[in-house]
């Protein structure tokens, strides 16, 4: 019986799960229109599509950044970047749950600050996970944070022009 349930473990590339991160992006995509005073069904669809695109970009750009910045580590452990991003992005979950609580329970019209904090925290955590797997230098935290900030700004701008 596994007595270390819930502990971070080394997973093979096949064992890395990215779907929780995509699910978080999709939930944010659905929630964002509901925080506006007026919206249509098409607004929700557009917002969902934008969230999926931002999610795809965030995850793949982070994997690219870790792989290109740690060539030596990539030679020995080809799946380290995917593992780091998969684990780091799990930390979007608390922000997603809190955004749902804020909107549904507390009635606050502010989802975007949750999304912005989620993507930036998850990216920085992915950087820390990469360093734990052997990636060298604080660039592994600084660059993902910068990427996340740019992406969340773009996301914010795109959602502000939703019909």
């Amino acid at each position: 019986m596994d007595t270390r349930l819930g502990y971070a473990q080394g997973a093979g590339p096949g064992g890395v799960k990215l779907w929780p991160a995509y699910l978080c992006f999709m939930i944010f995509g659905v929630l964002i229109p509901f925080s506006k005073p007026d919206y249509k069904f098409t607004t929700v669809i557009y917002s969902l599509l934008i969230a999926i695109v931002v999610g795809l970009m965030a995850i793949n750009v982070l994997i690219l950044v870790f792989n290109s910045g740690n060539a030596a580590l990539r030679q020995t452990d080809g799946g380290f970047a995917r593992e780091a991003v998969g684990t780091g992005m799990l930390f979007m979950i608390p922000f997603t749950v809190l955004a749902i609580i804020a909107l549904a329970v507390l009635g606050w019209n502010a989802v975007m600050p949750f999304a912005s904090a989620a993507i930036t925290t998850a990216a920085a955590t992915a950087g820390a996970e990469a360093m734990k797997r052997g990636a060298q230098g604080t660039k592994n935290v600084m660059i993902p944070t910068l990427v996340a900030m740019v992406l969340s700004t773009v996301w914010m701008m795109l959602t502000s022009i939703l019909p």
Binding site: Y7, P94, V97, I101, P113
Partner: protein, 189 residues
């Protein structure tokens, strides 16, 4: 627990580093920070956050000046007693004592994580007083959200890197803080 001798870094720098690189601070610098200092940081953060809440309600004509003072005092209690209780709960649930983390260390690390909330709350108060903006949600709640990152790292460290547990506990802590703030605001108003 990390037993390496920490460098002599000023406490205010450690508080600022907690926002930028919480993982490193938690592992190497927290043994130098006494828990009353950290509780002072979280206490001040929530005092300013609740003061903005009171000022927002005052601007909307919902409450008077005396209630603003009451809400501010509630903020002080929330940031000191509330955060200490939250830290004790997380310390107990994560069985951090078995890994060599003392209760004082847990309180100190947990409370210092709210240095991000302090920066946001202070900025919000400046905008509230100078421009008359309503800043409690925009600055205050955002500040609490940015404090979740140090909270997450603290729980990860205390729980022995248990990812699922850290995510669940961070969510619980965030929910308690946000719902508690909303309830106290309504109660005072």
């Amino acid at each position: 627990m990390n037993t390496a001798a920490p460098m002599d870094i000023p406490r205010w720098k450690t508080a600022l580093n907690m926002m930028i690189n919480p993982g490193e601070v938690i592992k190497t610098q927290m043994t130098k920070i006494p828990w009353p200092y950290s509780v002072m940081v979280s206490g001040l953060s929530f005092t300013l956050f609740f003061l903005q809440t009171g000022l927002d309600m005052l601007k909307a004509g919902q409450i008077g000046a005396s209630t603003v003072i009451l809400i501010t005092v509630l903020g002080l209690l929330y940031g000191t007693v509330g955060i200490v209780l939250l830290a004790v709960m997380v310390w107990a649930l994560s069985q951090a004592g078995e890994r060599g983390y003392t209760l004082e260390w847990a309180i100190s690390t947990f409370a210092l994580g709210y240095s991000a909330t302090f920066v946001y709350a202070l900025s919000g108060l400046i905008f509230s007083l100078a421009f008359g903006w309503k800043t409690a949600v925009a600055f205050g709640v955002t500040g609490v959200l940015w404090a979740l990152r140090p909270t997450l790292y603290t729980i990860k460290q205390m729980s022995g890197e248990r990812v699922a547990f850290s995510i669940a506990m961070t969510t619980l802590c965030g929910a308690i803080l946000l719902i508690g703030w909303a309830v106290l605001g309504k109660f005072a108003g």
